[in-house]
Subunit: 490 residues, 4 copies
C-alpha cells in the first residue's frame, strides 16, 4: 500500500527467467515463478520481461486472470509514473513493432473509401488485409478442416427463389419483431468474442452502430468490453441480448445473469454447442506461423505436456473457456435452474438437429438459434440452413411454439430472405460485424447494416414481397445441383 | 435565339467548379450549379469542363436528360463552329485519349477475320477484347455474385438428348411462327439496353442483320436508337416487338406504346422482373477500377450520401431507370389498363415461377418469357430453362393457352433445340447480339444468326428431326449429374 | 499416253496462280483453273505449286478425288523421273520442313520405351506429343464444347463395383464370342477414320496387331488403307467387320458391301449417327492455329462464302463425308434394301436411346452399338454407358434379341468389365488404337491389347469372376455422387 | 564351411556381367548366372556388383529369397571382415549416396517439432517430405487412377452429424472392446506392409506405441519384422492380431497360423481382397522416375518379356506376393480348413459388398473388415464407409451376428465417430501409422493415437455422447451434396 512506487528503470532490470517482472495497467508483477505455469509457455511472457505488457495482455485474458494466478506477494504494486503501452521505448525499442504490426499500419492506410464498399465480402477483404495475423486467425478459424465453416455459406447456394411479379412493392416494410422487440431488419448481431482484437473500442462499435440503426445486439459471453459498459453505450430504446456461457461455477453464472437483467438486457441466450472447445487448427497454428514469419526463435515444449501446451497455451481465452465450461448441462436440471434465477426469456443458442428443437419447444423455451457456432465447434455439424429446412418440412408445429433463428454463413441479403422464407424469425450475423469493426470501426458496422438493408429490400421487392409477412416457403426451392460459388474453391 | 454563337476558346475558359461549361452536340451548357446535383458526382463533369462532352454523354443519358435537369438559362446556345467530339485538341489534348481507348483501338485491329469465327463464344471473346471497359462491365454484369448469370447457362448442361436415328432429315425446316409471325429460326433478339456502348450504330446493326435473315427483333425500352429510327431501318416485311418498361408516369408509357403501335411494332412485351434495379456490382465498380487503371485521382463522396452515390451515380441509365420504374404494377390494374391503350398483343417478360405462368395464362395473356433478366435482377432466381422444365412437367396445359419463350444463357444451337423440345415456342438472345455488334457491327449480327442456323440445323438432323414440330420432351432427359463446362469455373 | 514425260524443272516453272502445276504420285496436274474451286481454298494448293504435293495430298483425299475434280486435259501425264515426296529439294527446300514437322521428329526420338508404358493414358500422352498438330486435332476433336466427349469417359466413374470374394479365380477365361466369332477379350477395334495421319502403314498396324492377339477389327468406312489390302494383311482365321457409311449413291454403297463380303468381312455395321458431320471446332480451327504458329500469312476467304469455307474447306475428308452422306435413311427402306444386297449380318452403329434399340430388336437387327460416335456428332448425346444402363434396367428383353455393344470413352480394363456387367457383349475402342499406332506403330497396338488383357484379368479376378459369364449387373452400382477424375478438369 | 573367407578386395573384382558377386549380410554370392533371371532385371543387380548390397536387398526381399533362387555353389561363403552397408567406400564411393538420400537427410533435419503437429494430415505432410522416393510411392500408391483411394476418404465428407445438446459429457469414456479385448479407443492398427521402408525399427514402433496406449495392432502378413520379434516387444497385456495372406503352399500357411497362435496373437484376419496384386502404377513407375531424377542411365528390357518385367520386377515384394497368393480360396473349403488348424477367432479382411457380409455372418465368421485394401486392389470398389452404410440400412441383423469394422481413408476423429455411429465396432488405420513412424518413429505413433484420442473425445462430447454406446445411426445423416474437401482436387 505505502511502499515506494517502482520506476520503469527498476522494472527493466528484471528481464530474464532468473527474474522476470512485467507491467500491466500500471501495476508491476513478478512473474518469475509463474513462468513455467503460464499456459502460453514462458516464451511469450519473457518477450515482455522488464516492460509494459498491457497491450498484449488485455485482449486475451479474462479480467481476473492475475488474481487467479499470482499470489499477493507477486503483485509488486503500482508503477511510479504512468506507463502507457509502449511507453518504455528506451529499454527495448526494437521489440516494439513487429513486421506484422508494420504490415497492418501500412494496409490500414490503403483501405478503400467506404463509398466503394458494396458488399459484406468487400468489407471482409479489407478486414483480412488490416487485421493482425493472430486476430484474423482467431476470427476466421473453423474447426478441423473448416468443412462446416464453408458449408454453412455454401448451403445458401442450394436454395433458389420463385419470384412473384406484378405485386405492388414500392412500399416495402423490412421491419419485424424479435421476441417482441422492434427490429429494423429481420436480423441481429449474434454473439462473437473478443471484438477488441480488431478495434480498440471492441464491441462498442457494434453497440453504437446498432443503436442508430435499430438492430438488436447479442453481447457475447466473452466480449472484451464489460456488459455494463456496453449497456451504458446503448440508447435508451436499444435492445441488448446476453449470450451466456454456463460455467461450472454456478454462482458466477448467476451473477452474470442477474447483472445483465439489472442492466436491462432483454433475453438470455444460453450457449449449448460449446461444452468443450472445438479444434480450431488455424487459430492454434497462428502463433507458430507468426513467429516463423517474424524470424524469431521458437519456444518448444516437447514431451508429455505438449498436448496441453498446444491446446491450452494458444491464448488465455482458450484456456479460460475450457477451464470453466460446464460440460454437464442437461434439459432436466439446467433449464429449471436458469429459470429460477431470472425472469428474462431463455433461449438456446446452438441447437443442431430436429429432435433438440422439438425438445426445446416442448419444455417451453422461448426461442432457439439453429447454429453450429459458425463452424467453430463440431466439424460436420449440418449447416443451420439445412437444419432449418428439415425442421420446416418435418415439424412445422415447432415454429408455432417458439421463435427460430439461424446464424452462420449469412453474407447477402438474399441469404437473410431465404432463411425468413423458410420460417426463421430473424437471422444472426457474427463474423461480418467483427470484420466490419476491424476494417472501419463503427462506420463499418453502420455500413454493414446499410448494405444488408439495401440487399434485403431489393430481394424482397424483386420477390414481390412488401413485408416480412409475405415471405413464405413457397418462394424458395431447394435445388438438386450445386451452383459454383466462391466457396466451391478450397 | 439570336445571341452570338460561343467559340470553343470562350468555352475553354470555364473549366473548373467556379464556372463549368460543357459542349454537347454543338450546344453549350453552363453546369456550374448542377455540379453538386449530378448523380455521377461532380468529378466526371469536371473532367469535361471547357470541352466537348458529347462522346461521353450520349451513350449513357436518355435523350431528355438535359431538359430534365438544366434550366433554360443554363443552356447557353449553339457553338460558333461545329465541334465534333475531340475537335478541341488545342485545349486539353492530353485528356483526349485514355489508356482504355488506346487499348480498344489496338485490339480492334487484331480481331480475327469473321471466317475464323465458329461459335458465339468466339464472338464473345472478341467483344470482350474490343469493348471499352465500362461498356463491357455494363453488358456482362449480373447481380450480386453472378450466380444466376452463370447458372442460366449451366442449366443447359444438365439436359441431354435421346437422339433418334434412321429418319429422313436431308430436308430440315428450321422455320417457325412466333405470335403468328414468320421466323426463319425458333429464336428472336431479346431486349437488351444501350447497344451504342458497343457500336456507334447501336441497335440498327441488329435491325439490319435481322431483316436480311428474317429474325424478329424485340426493341429494348432503353434502346440507344429511337424506336422510330429502328422502324425506319426495318424491311417492310420485318417484324419488330417492343419491350416496355412501365413508368410511374403512365402518360409517358401510353405515348410509347401508341407510338410503337403506329410505327408498326407488332407486340408489347411488358417487363415485369425489374420493379427495382438489381445489384450489379461489376457494373458499379467499373468506374473506380477504370479510374485507378488510368492513374487518375478518384473523387470520393463520403458520408451520409454515399449510398445514393454508389447506386445512382454509376450512370444516367441507372439513375433514369430507378427514377421512373413503376414498382406497383399488379395483375388487377396494370393488364386491363395496358389493354385499354393498345390493340397489340400483350406479353410478359420476366415470369420466373409456375404460379405466375398459370396466372398469366388464366387472364388471357398472349405469351410469356420465362426470364430472370439475364441474371441481372434477383440473384438466385431459378434458371429459365429449369422453370420451363418444371412448367412442362407440372402444368403442360399452360402451353396450350399462351406461347412460352425463355431467354438467358443461350449460346449454342443445342441450347435452342433443348428449349424447343421442352415446350418453348422460341428463345430470346440478348447479350450475344450486343457482343456481336460490338465486335463486328452488322456483320457480327449476321454471323451470329448464321452460326445458330448451322448449329440448330445440325442438332435437329442428328436428333432425327426434320421440322420444329418434331421436337418434343421425349428427346430430352434431365440428368442427375453435373457435366464439366466452362461455367464450372469461377 | 505417248507424250514426253515432264521434268521437275518444267513443273517448277508453274508455281503461281497464273499457272499452277502440282505433282501427285509421279503424275503432273494443272490445277490453275481448279484453284478457286478447291474446297480448302487456293492457298493450300499454291503452297505446293510447282512441287510434289503427294505427302500433303494423300492422307486427306479420297482415292478418286482427282478423277472427280479435274478434266482429262488437266492431267498432264507422268513425271520424267520418279519424284518421291520431298524429292525436289533444289526448288523450294525451305518449305519442306515446317516447325511442326521438326517438333514431331524431335518428340519421336524422346518416346519412352514401351516397357515403361503402363496404361492407355500413357500411350495417349505419347501420341499427343508425337502426332502432327492437325492429325491430333482430327483424332481428338469432339463436337461443340466437347461435353459428350468428356462425359463419355466420366460416365464410367459413376459406376462402382460390388466385388465378391472367396471365389476361385486362378483360372480366369477372358475370351468370348462376338456375333459368334471368337475373341480373346470382350472388346473389338471400333471404326475410326484415317489411321495414316498417325502412321504411314495406317490401319495395317491394327490388322497385324489384332491378328496376333485374336481381336476383331471393324474397318472404318473412311479407312486410309483399301479394304482389300487390309483383308490381305489379315490372318486366315482373323475376323474383320466393315463399318459402312451409306452414300446417296446407292450403287457405290452396294459395291462396297459386296466387295467386303467377297473379301471375307464378316458383318456390316451401318453407321446411323452421322447423317451430317458434327461441329468439331478443334479440328476446323487447327489449320489456322498451325498457320499462325508457323508464322505464315493466312489466306482469308471473307464474304458470303465464308461459312462454306469454314466447314468444307478444312479437309477433303470433311468435304467428302458431307458431300455423299445419305441423310434420308429410314427403318422402313434402308434395312430391307441392305438385306437385299448382302447375306452378312447387319448391325447398327450409333444407336443413342432406348426406343431405337427396341426398334432395332423388333425388326431383327443382329446387333447394335450404343455410341455417340466418340462425342464427335451430336453434343449432349447421352454417354453410351448411361444408355446401356437405362436399357438394361428398362428393357432387359432387348439383350435377348440382339447383341449390344458400346463404344466411346473406354480407357481401362474396369471400364470394359463394367459394360459387360451391364449387359454388353463387348465394347469397342477407337481412338486408343489410333493413338497406339501413332505412338508406336503395330507394337503400340499389341501393347494396347496387352494392357487391356492384364487390366481386365485383374479386375475380373478381384471381382471374383472367372469367366465373362460371371459378370452381371449385381456386381455394379451406379452411385449418386461424382468421383474426382482427370475429366473433372477442363 | 571351412573355406577361406573372401575379402572385399576379392569381391570387388567381380563387378560386371561376366562375373558378378555381391555381399549380403556378410555373405558373398555369385549372381552371374542369376542375372538374367532376376525379376528386377540385371541392371539393379549390376549396380551392386562387387559391393555390399545389403541395404538395397533387405527391405524388399523375403527372408528366403536367396535360398529360393541360388544354388549352394553360388553361395560363396562369409566375408573375411564384417562389411556393414557402405563399408567398401574405396571401391565405389560415388554410388553410396543418391540425390534422394541426400534430400531425405536434409528434410529429416527440418521436421517441425512434434508439439506443432496437430493432425494426421500434418504428420502425413512430414512423412511425404522425409520418406525415400520409392518408399513413399509404395506406401501411398492406389490402384489404377487412385479413384478408390481418394473416394475412401471423400466418402466421410458426405456424412454429417445431428449433434445433441444438453447432455452431461464431462465424463466421456472412449474405451471399447474389440473381439472381447480391451481397447482404449474404438480403433486399431490395420495391417500394412513393410514398415521398415520408413524407419529401421519398422513395425516395432507401432508395437511399442500401441502397447503404451492400449491400442490393438494387427500385424501384416508382409511385416518387415518377424512376428516373434513383434510379440517379444509387446507388453504382457497387449493384444496382437495377425493379418494372414493364404499361400498356395498350405503347409507354409499353417505354420504361420500356428506360430502366431503360439506367440499369443489373438485373432486371424484372413485377407480376401488380394487374390492377385492390384495395378499400382505409382509404385511401378517410381523406379524409372527415380532413375531419371538421379541422372542414371536406364536399363530397358524391351520385347516379349516387358510385361513381366514391369509388374514382377518392381520389387521382390510384388514378386513374392503374386507368386504365392492363393487365388482359389472358397467359402466351402478355405474356412473349414482354417478352422481345422487353429482355435483362434477367424475374421475376414476385405469384404466389399453386402452379400459377402451376409455370407460371412451365416457361416459363423467372428468378424469382418469392410475394406478395399486402402484403394490398392480393385479400382472402383465402393468406399468401405458406403458399404457400411448400405449394410446398416439393408441388413442390420448382420451386426448382431458378427463384429463389423472398416478401414481405408480414416484421417480424423470425426471419421471414426461416424463409422461407429453407423454400426462399426471399431475402425482400422493403416497408412497413417506408416506415415507416423516414418516421420517420427515411435513418438509419431504415440502422437497419432493421442491426436485421435483428443479428436474422438471432442467429437463425442460435442455430439452429446459420453460413451461409445451412445453412438447410433440417428446421429449421422448422409447428405445429397458434395462438400469441398482436400480430396476434391486431383
Amino acid at each position: 500500500m505505502s511502499m515506494p512506487r517502482l520506476t520503469v528503470q527498476e522494472v527493466a532490470k528484471h528481464r530474464d527467467s532468473s527474474s522476470c517482472w512485467v507491467i500491466i495497467k500500471n501495476e508491476v508483477y513478478d512473474v518469475t515463478d509463474f513462468l513455467s505455469n503460464h499456459p502460453g509457455g514462458p516464451g511469450i511472457l519473457l518477450k515482455y520481461a522488464g516492460r509494459d505488457a498491457t497491450a498484449a495482455y488485455e485482449p486475451i485474458h479474462p479480467p481476473d486472470a492475475i488474481q487467479q494466478n499470482l499470489t499477493p506477494s507477486q503483485c509488486l504494486g503500482p508503477l511510479a509514473q504512468s506507463a502507457q503501452s509502449g511507453a518504455v521505448p528506451d529499454i527495448a525499442p526494437e521489440l516494439e513493432r513487429t513486421k506484422d504490426e508494420m504490415r497492418v499500419e501500412q494496409t490500414m492506410k490503403q483501405r478503400p473509401p467506404l463509398n466503394q464498399i458494396l458488399s459484406l465480402a468487400d468489407i471482409e477483404t479489407v478486414a483480412k488485409a488490416v487485421l493482425p495475423y493472430s486476430a484474423l486467425a482467431f476470427y476466421s478459424a473453423g474447426t478441423d478442416d473448416e468443412i462446416s465453416l464453408r458449408e454453412n455459406t455454401r448451403a445458401f447456394s442450394r436454395f433458389f427463389f420463385h419470384p412473384r411479379v406484378m405485386r405492388p412493392v414500392s412500399k416495402c416494410d423490412l421491419s419485424t419483431k424479435i421476441l417482441g422487440f422492434d427490429s429494423a431488419l429481420p436480423l441481429f448481431v449474434s454473439g462473437a468474442a473478443q471484438a477488441n482484437l480488431g478495434h480498440p473500442l471492441g464491441e462498442l462499435n457494434i453497440t453504437r452502430g446498432c443503436g442508430k440503426a435499430n438492430i438488436i445486439q447479442m453481447v457475447c459471453g466473452y466480449a472484451s468490453i464489460a456488459r455494463s459498459e456496453i449497456a451504458a453505450a446503448a440508447l435508451p430504446s436499444q435492445t441488448l441480448f446476453l449470450q451466456l456461457y454456463k460455467s461450472t461455477d454456478e454462482e458466477a453464472t448467476v451473477k452474470i445473469v442477474q447483472e445483465a437483467e439489472q442492466l436491462g438486457y432483454k433475453a438470455i441466450f444460453l450457449t449449448v454447442d460449446a461444452v468443450v472447445v472445438g479444434n480450431r487448427e488455424r487459430d492454434v497454428k497462428s502463433t507458430w506461423t507468426l513467429q516463423a514469419e517474424e524470424g524469431k526463435s521458437r519456444y518448444y515444449n516437447e514431451g508429455d505436456e505438449e498436448e496441453k501446451t498446444n491446446y491450452l497455451g494458444k491464448s488465455a481465452l482458450h484456456w479460460n473457456q475450457s477451464r470453466g465450461l460446464d460440460s454437464d448441462m442437461s434439459w432436466e436440471l439446467t433449464i429449471p435452474w436458469l429459470r429460477s434465477v431470472t425472469r428474462l426469456p431463455i433461449l438456446l443458442k446452438g441447437i443442431q438437429c430436429i429432435q433438440d428443437a422439438v425438445l426445446a419447444a416442448d419444455i417451453g423455451i422461448d426461442g432457439i438459434i439453429l447454429s453450429n457456432h459458425g463452424g467453430r465447434q463440431l466439424e460436420y455439424s449440418l449447416p443451420p440452413l439445412e437444419v432449418l429446412y428439415r425442421l420446416r418440412q418435418q415439424r412445422p408445429d415447432v415454429f408455432e411454439k417458439l421463435e427460430v433463428y439461424i446464424d452462420g454463413g449469412i453474407r447477402r441479403g438474399t441469404d437473410v430472405v431465404k432463411a425468413i422464407c423458410l420460417g426463421a424469425t430473424a437471422v444472426g450475423l457474427g463474423r461480418p460485424f467483427l470484420f466490419a469493426l476491424s476494417a472501419y470501426g463503427e462506420a463499418g458496422v453502420t455500413k454493414t447494416i446499410s448494405i444488408l438493408r439495401r440487399e434485403i429490400g431489393t430481394a424482397m421487392r424483386l420477390l414481390g414481397a412488401s413485408s416480412i409477412r409475405d415471405l413464405n416457403p413457397g418462394l424458395v426451392e431447394r435445388v438438386d445441383w450445386e451452383p459454383v460459388t466462391r466457396e466451391s474453391k478450397l
